[in-house]
């Protein structure tokens, strides 16, 4: 029995690493003098790194943990790596940000770690109520993080909005679970698959449940028509939190969606294909068109996140193993470029996040060439230009979708064409930032501040990662493929 417990612990090693360090940070917080609080940030970062190493232990002892509640497979490992990486980068970006804004507190880091642990559970959940726990754990932590600039009105508003709508969304999710349970008598993801394969078709109640789950999770990953609150929250949240928010929870939630839609309801892919198709088209158009008119860079990047969720849905619609691999690779590339971009915005925002307008970036190319060049790299990657991870992600997404045309017919080809056209629309607003940085006259009231080492390292890692995924993606791609294969599709 003891060994079984030990195996269980191995399989959720990243989660307990994160939780223990999170608790440690909370305990230490009162004893650390305000001037030294930044060390708690470093402790949290060390915790994230330890969790990253712990992923390896989970990888070595794959299998089901805690009576099939959690499935530790390569898929879960892949998602863990991406999520924890995003959290680690966000922590690095936060340390000096909190100092600058005068809100250096230990619980901030603890909350990031708890949220990450929740996302880890989402990535591995093999049971819907467990997934719900993970979702709540990550959501509640992020509600607080979003409002962490207590004296800032937008931050408060964002937190409130996120909390209200987020709770609403989790309620949808819970309703969905209840209905699926009512129809099938189980909440285990793999068992649902087996039950649906029985003759007699899929019960309508189960499909209704799936619809509600789609709504609930759609809220979390910001896909249309559930994206409305997103930009407000992203804009109001402290920028490093936005970096985290736009990356890690999306990855984890998409992972859960893949499990539910592909594993449990893979049989019904003809049914949910159209929901995904419509949502993808709406998401891309709304995200890109709205981003065109933004002058606030943070808000623009928020809409760009929405657009990217749309591209991910294109691969999602494929409903093939190739599609899963494409989604996973896209998520990895997306996290690096998005976190990188938001961290640069963190630095350039300056005290009180005062400088977020696109005009504030004027002349950055000559003033801070390295920073401007890295920002350009992230923007080009978001835009999808070759030699960056963003391009390869899009490339694989389109490829996997086209590959599935025998199953979905011309609809999916049109989806790819719409996505392609959207990425050109998207080019305009990314290029606007570059125009401002390189082509515009420098604004006069700007005093550059040096990049803090921790933030610099985070940006550097994100930039190298973006290039690595663009130029030498073979290994990560192989990893994503193995991960996709590890899901028990029907």
């Amino acid at each position: 029995m003891a060994t079984a417990q030990l195996v269980n612990l191995h399989r959720v090693a990243p989660e307990w690493h994160l939780s223990i360090v999170g608790i440690l940070v909370m305990i230490l917080d009162p004893f650390v003098s305000p001037r030294r609080k930044r060390w708690l940030g470093w402790l949290a970062f060390a915790g994230a790194l330890a969790a990253l190493l712990a992923v390896h232990r989970a990888y070595d002892s794959q299998g089901m943990a805690y009576d099939n509640l959690i499935s530790t497979d390569v898929f879960s490992v892949f998602v863990h790596v991406v999520v924890i990486l995003a959290a680690a980068l966000s922590i690095l970006g936060s340390i000096d940000y909190l100092e600058r804004e005068g809100i250096q507190r230990g619980e901030y880091y603890a909350l990031i770690l708890f949220a990450t642990a929740g996302m880890g559970i989402l990535a591995g959940a093999n049971e819907l109520v467990t997934a719900f726990l993970g979702l709540e754990m990550s959501s509640i932590s992020t509600y607080i993080l979003v409002g962490f600039r207590r004296r800032s009105e937008p931050s408060n508003e964002a937190s409130m909005k996120y909390f209200l709508l987020g709770s609403f969304a989790t309620a949808f999710f819970l309703y969905g679970i209840a209905m699926v349970y009512g129809a099938l008598g189980t909440t285990y993801i793999d068992k649902i698959q087996a039950l649906l394969e029985r003759p007699g078709g899929i019960p309508a109640l189960a499909m209704l449940g799936l619809g509600l789950i789609f709504v609930g999770l759609g809220f979390k990953v910001l896909i249309a028509p559930f994206q409305v609150y997103g930009p407000d929250v992203y804009e109001g949240a402290p920028t490093p939190v936005t970096a985290l928010l736009s990356s890690a929870p999306k990855v984890a939630t998409f992972a859960l969606m893949l499990r539910i839609f592909y594993v449990s309801f893979g049989m019904a892919s003809d049914f949910w294909f159209w929901a995904v198709w419509i949502s993808a088209v709406l998401t891309m158009f709304i995200g890109n068109l709205a981003a065109l008119v933004q002058s606030n860079v943070k808000r623009m990047l928020a809409y760009s996140s929405i657009a990217h969720a749309g591209y991910i849905l294109v691969a999602f619609a494929a409903s093939t193993t190739l599609g899963i691999a494409a989604v996973l690779f896209y998520l990895a590339a997306y996290v690096l470029m998005k976190v990188g971009a938001f961290l640069i915005v963190t630095h350039l925002g300056q005290r009180g996040e005062a400088r977020l307008d696109i005009r504030d970036y004027a002349g950055l190319g000559s003033r801070e060439p390295v920073l401007a060049a890295s920002f350009s790299l992230f923007l080009f990657s978001l835009l999808g230009l070759p030699a960056t991870g963003g391009f390869l992600g899009k490339f694989l997404a389109f490829q996997s979708a086209l590959d599935a045309h025998s199953a979905h017919g011309t609809a999916i080809i049109w989806l790819v064409v719409i996505a392609a056209i959207n990425s050109v629309i998207g080019a305009y607003y990314y290029l606007r930032v570059i125009i401002s940085m390189y082509f515009a006259q420098p604004s006069t009231d700007y005093t550059p501040s040096s990049v803090a080492p921790a933030l610099g390292v985070a940006i550097f890692v994100a930039a190298i990662g973006t290039l690595y995924l663009g130029l030498l993606p073979a290994q990560v791609l192989e990893f994503a493929r193995t991960a996709a294969d590890s899901l028990p599709l029907h």
Binding site: L392, L431, I435
Partner: protein, 530 residues
């Protein structure tokens, strides 16, 4: 053929390597930045000449090939050169040093960034010409956009931001649909490798609509780049607003990426669709020839005038390709080189005027032959080559295109010929207004004549013009085998439709339907001048 296993990689990436050297220099050390950029581009030119030594002109296949796995099983690092791409690479390496030289004194701000952009463009363009893997090709294709975007946006003239964004959005729109087509093709053939796809298409015939759609997606991307009427509207803005070096590279090489793409991908991969679309495309090309020439005539801005000549001249190239005759296609390739050199030279000369007066308005000039006899003499020479005066280069290209086109389409040839007449009108008229007459603006009296640096540039391009004009067999000999190969493939469906089977070698005698036999044509081509 001597084994030179890494030659193409070196040719492609040498400019990028020198970028690293440039980045290590201090950014205010302008003198050394210029020198190293020039030295690197000259070294690149010399290295690219090595291609000529080992090139086997009787061989239609790709030569100097390099083949390595890159990403997974489907994507390869595959380079190769054939008669179609050989001289386009040389054109690129020839024009880049001149572009660097012409920016010697006119670029003051962010000098390092400028030369870095120029050299990155060089690598990207050569990469486009040499890639034999569609993924690799697309990477290089998109890579050309960014540095050119910066070049127009940062060092351009008044309206540069508008021009830069128009340029990049137009091109991206075309290329993203091409990406979808590439992926579709991969889905069918299971590889991105050009030769693999060719083999697949040789044994499988695509459904009609599929082929048509794929052709359309590729063609749209290339037609925007060329640019074919009515997709040309980005071109006058981009050319006019770009700095001189940018215009030289844009007009000299970048437009050829489009015509090259048509010749390398559109036509050979989708011959049936190409033949179906040929009448429409031919008409668009003709409209472009005449329209470009007419619009050029009425321009008051010298640089815009030269920009519109590109619309007209590239119309000839497209027409030549879609005539599907060996002679015409050879002429089209030849005309790509001519246009690169001649229009590049025109932009260089216009840039020299701009350096002196900071305007492109024709009205601001007049009577310049008196203060600047040397510069104006070269200007005339270049203009004459551009309007296809025998025995200069432009004549050979247009003549081959017209003859080849005439074989299949009498009407096309006669309309196109009118474009030749119009080019004499706009170029000579413009030259007359700039060089002759009274000096109306007082400042123009004291303008300095061409400096040593400018003379080096002008002599280089003039020699190239003359050489292309009198030594055309040296070029066509190496182009011919590959062109035969392409034209064979395009005409195969016709010949094969009577008989059975695919892949027959029966299409050798596709040209010469109208009483002109191959030998006559060859003599014409070799003499090519009165």
């Amino acid at each position: 053929m001597p084994e030179q296993p890494l030659l193409l990689t070196v040719v492609t990436f040498l400019p990028l390597l020198s970028v690293v050297a440039l980045l290590l220099l201090r950014s205010d050390d302008h003198a050394w930045i210029r020198r190293i950029a020039l030295a690197a581009s000259l070294a690149e030119f010399v290295v690219s000449l090595l291609l000529l030594r080992g090139f086997d002109s009787t061989n239609a296949a790709y030569q100097f090939t390099e083949y390595h796995h890159w990403i997974g099983e489907a994507i390869h690092y595959h380079l190769g050169v054939d008669g179609i791409s050989l001289f386009l690479v040389l054109l690129t390496t020839f024009l880049t040093p001149l572009a660097i030289l012409c920016s010697w004194e006119s670029i003051h701000e962010n000098v390092k960034g400028f030369f870095v952009s120029l050299l990155v463009i060089e690598t990207a363009m050569i990469g486009v010409f040499l890639s034999l893997d569609l993924f690799l090709f697309f990477v290089f294709w998109e890579l050309t956009l960014i540095p050119m975007y910066f070049m127009i946006g940062m060092w351009g003239h008044e309206n540069r931001i508008y021009a830069a964004i128009k340029f990049i959005l137009y091109t991206m729109f075309g290329s993203i649909l091409m990406l979808v087509a590439i992926l579709w093709l991969y889905d069918l053939a299971g590889t991105f490798d050009l030769e693999g796809i060719e083999q697949y298409l040789a044994v499988t015939s695509l459904p009609h609509t599929t082929e048509l759609l794929l052709f359309a997606a590729f063609f749209l991307a290339f037609a925007i780049k060329v640019p074919l009427f009515p997709l040309h509207t980005w071109l006058p803005d981009a050319h006019t607003e770009a700095p001189t070096a940018g215009s030289v590279i844009l007009a000299g090489v970048m437009l050829k990426l489009g015509t090259y793409g048509i010749l390398r991908f559109c036509v050979p991969l989708f011959p049936k669709a190409a033949q179906e679309a040929a009448p429409a495309i031919g008409v668009l090309a003709l409209i472009g020839i005449v329209y470009g020439a007419l619009v050029a005539t009425v321009q008051t801005d010298l640089k815009r005038l030269v920009a519109y000549t590109s619309v007209s001249h590239l119309g000839f190239v497209v027409l030549g390709i879609f005539a599907f005759q060996v002679t015409a296609v050879e002429g089209a390739i030849y005309q790509m080189l001519n246009h690169g050199v001649s229009t590049g030279a025109l932009f260089l000369a216009v840039g020299m005027l701009y350096d002196r007066r900071h305007t492109h308005e024709i009205k601001q000039f007049g009577g310049l032959a008196t203060p600047m006899p040397v510069l104006m003499a070269f200007f005339l020479f270049v203009a004459l080559s551009s309007l296809a005066l025998p025995p200069l280069n432009g004549f050979i290209g247009e003549f081959l295109i017209l003859i080849g086109t005439y074989l299949g389409h009498h009407a096309w040839a006669s309309w196109a010929a009118s474009g030749g007449v119009l080019s004499a009108i706009y170029l000579l008229w413009a030259y007359q207004r700039v060089a002759f007459g009274e000096i109306t603006v007082e400042r123009n009296r004291t303008l300095p004549d061409a400096s040593i640096r400018e003379r080096i540039i002008l002599v280089s391009v003039s020699l190239a013009i003359l050489f292309l004009g009198v030594a055309s067999p040296l070029f066509t000999r190496r182009i011919e085998a590959s062109v035969n190969n392409v034209v064979e493939r395009i005409n195969q469906p016709e010949t094969a439709s009577g008989g059975a089977g695919t892949g027959s070698m029966a299409a050798q005698a596709t040209i010469a339907p109208a009483g002109i036999d191959r030998t006559t044509l060859r003599t014409l081509r070799v003499r090519g001048r009165p």
